[in-house]
Symmetry: C2
Subunit: 291 residues, 2 copies
């Protein structure tokens, strides 16, 4: 069980409050920072929660400052929860050597390989420990029965996979420039090779945390996947085949899954200039299922 | 005359394009970065321009990334122009010793004291050289007859003073947490003491670049000042009497000037969390006079 939250800052913004919180996680055995945006209070009703999973290198602050979710969340009456992207300060060998592996790059999985498995348990943290802590501390303001999930890049992978692995946990999913088929791209091969293993039993685990493979394994024709994906056509990582939304689309089509919208936005890049431009759409997508 | 713009980046955002530009300035004798947001093109009409002057330490990028003017500017059909806050790279002694004087702290004045007067001519740069360069290069897209000005903190001071000093140049003015009476606050005393001088002829110049003094000197009863000011009550710098909007309000009231709205926003701080929350209001204030 996580420790109680320490409130490091309370910031007025868009009519609500952004709380910068920290607590000690049992899943990661480290302190974890998390930001929580509470929209303006209205009629003492509990508000639903949209979880935003950030991309490689980010902390909870990047999207809080540059993602522009609060403008739309304030209007819709949603809270937004920003977990960190990995444990920090675990002090493992090589943990800080790469920007796309280790610290800032937890990939929202539970590592099974040494030395990562003691701390790199972001899946348990995001799906179990963090919600327990947040709904425990803010249960008077937040409705734990209404939660959706979204994310960017590595966090888009996190949103898609955690949604697909946990039926009923989230009411909808969306993603901005998500990694869609990590087993087939350099970022994913490095991360899954490290956290699960390069071959044998480790390699066998990759498909279980791969959004495209999960569509094929978990869904069948006619199943509804309430999913919005945006990708910029000027996104270098998309063009370098790190994201592979086309593979996800193919799996959706071949499986006969319904409800998925994938949009290619002309010229947009991978940055927060892209995220912020479509934040309102992703809040409204979630709001359709939460309100 | 400034050199031609070099385009360092073109970024799709909120349906328009953010251009990161650089040119060599004659007024400052240095290269100057400037950002220009162009809203989505519509019917080949030229769009008006809102100039945003940034606060201490900022470059054109801070507000471009965190101010969220583009969401509202895109809807209204305004361009937004972000000058830098000072010359950079002039290599003057002590230029980088303080965060509130020298580099990043040009205060939008023309320095008269040594060693600053050769380079620190931000007033000429913002009011003359930059508009000439921008309307020269983008005259097919921008309407030079429709320009308004806004800004934050030191940039709010810049917006208020440049508006008051240059009747007819801008159609409206607004400011977020502006320094309003620099002659009476530590930031202003340091800046004006350095750029103009601590006494004698130098000190005599302070009032000519002080927004509160300019209201008293330039305006008379019944004059209209199309001005919106927002200040957060949780702003440390407001509470430390660096901003002094109350002095500006007093000058407006005692002079009998009309059209000024000063709003105190409960709990908001001095940061971009505050700026972004009210960016839409400041775009709409400008749009009333520009569209």
């Amino acid at each position: 069980m996580a420790s109680a939250f320490e409130t490091k800052a309370t910031i007025a913004t868009f009519g609500g409050k952004l709380l910068k919180l920290s607590h000690r996680s049992n899943a990661t055995q480290t302190p974890m920072d998390v930001n929580l945006y509470l929209p303006p209070a209205s009629n003492d009703r509990k508000v639903p929660v949209l979880i935003f999973l950030s991309g490689l290198t980010c902390t909870p602050n990047n999207c809080s400052e540059k993602g522009f979710f609060h403008a739309a969340a304030s209007k819709a009456g949603l809270a937004v929860l920003y977990p960190d992207t990995s444990p920090r300060g675990a002090d493992l060998p090589g943990e800080k050597d790469s920007w796309d592996f280790g610290e800032g790059a937890g990939f929202y999985v539970n590592a099974t390989a040494e030395p990562w498995k003691k701390h790199y348990n972001m899946e348990t943290y995001v799906t179990q420990e963090l919600p327990e802590a947040v709904f425990g501390a803010y249960g008077d303001k937040l409705d734990r029965s209404r939660v959706s999930i979204t994310g960017h890049s590595m966090g888009g992978h996190g949103a898609l996979t955690l949604f697909l692995k946990n039926p009923g946990m989230y009411r909808s999913v969306s993603a901005l420039a998500p990694i869609c088929n990590p087993s087939q791209c350099p970022w994913g091969e490095k991360a899954f090779g490290g956290y699960f293993g390069q071959d044998g039993d480790g390699k066998a685990l990759w498909a279980g945390s791969d959004a495209t493979e999960l569509v094929r394994a978990k869904l069948k024709s006619g199943d509804k996947l309430p999913c919005l994906i945006d990708v910029g056509t000027g996104d270098n990582f998309y063009n370098q085949k790190q994201l592979l939304p086309e593979n996800f689309e193919k799996a959706v089509k071949e499986t006969g899954v319904e409800g998925v919208t994938v949009r290619y936005q002309p010229d947009y890049d991978h940055s927060y200039f892209f995220i912020s431009s479509f934040a309102e759409d992703h809040v409204q997508h979630a709001a359709k299922y939460l309100l």
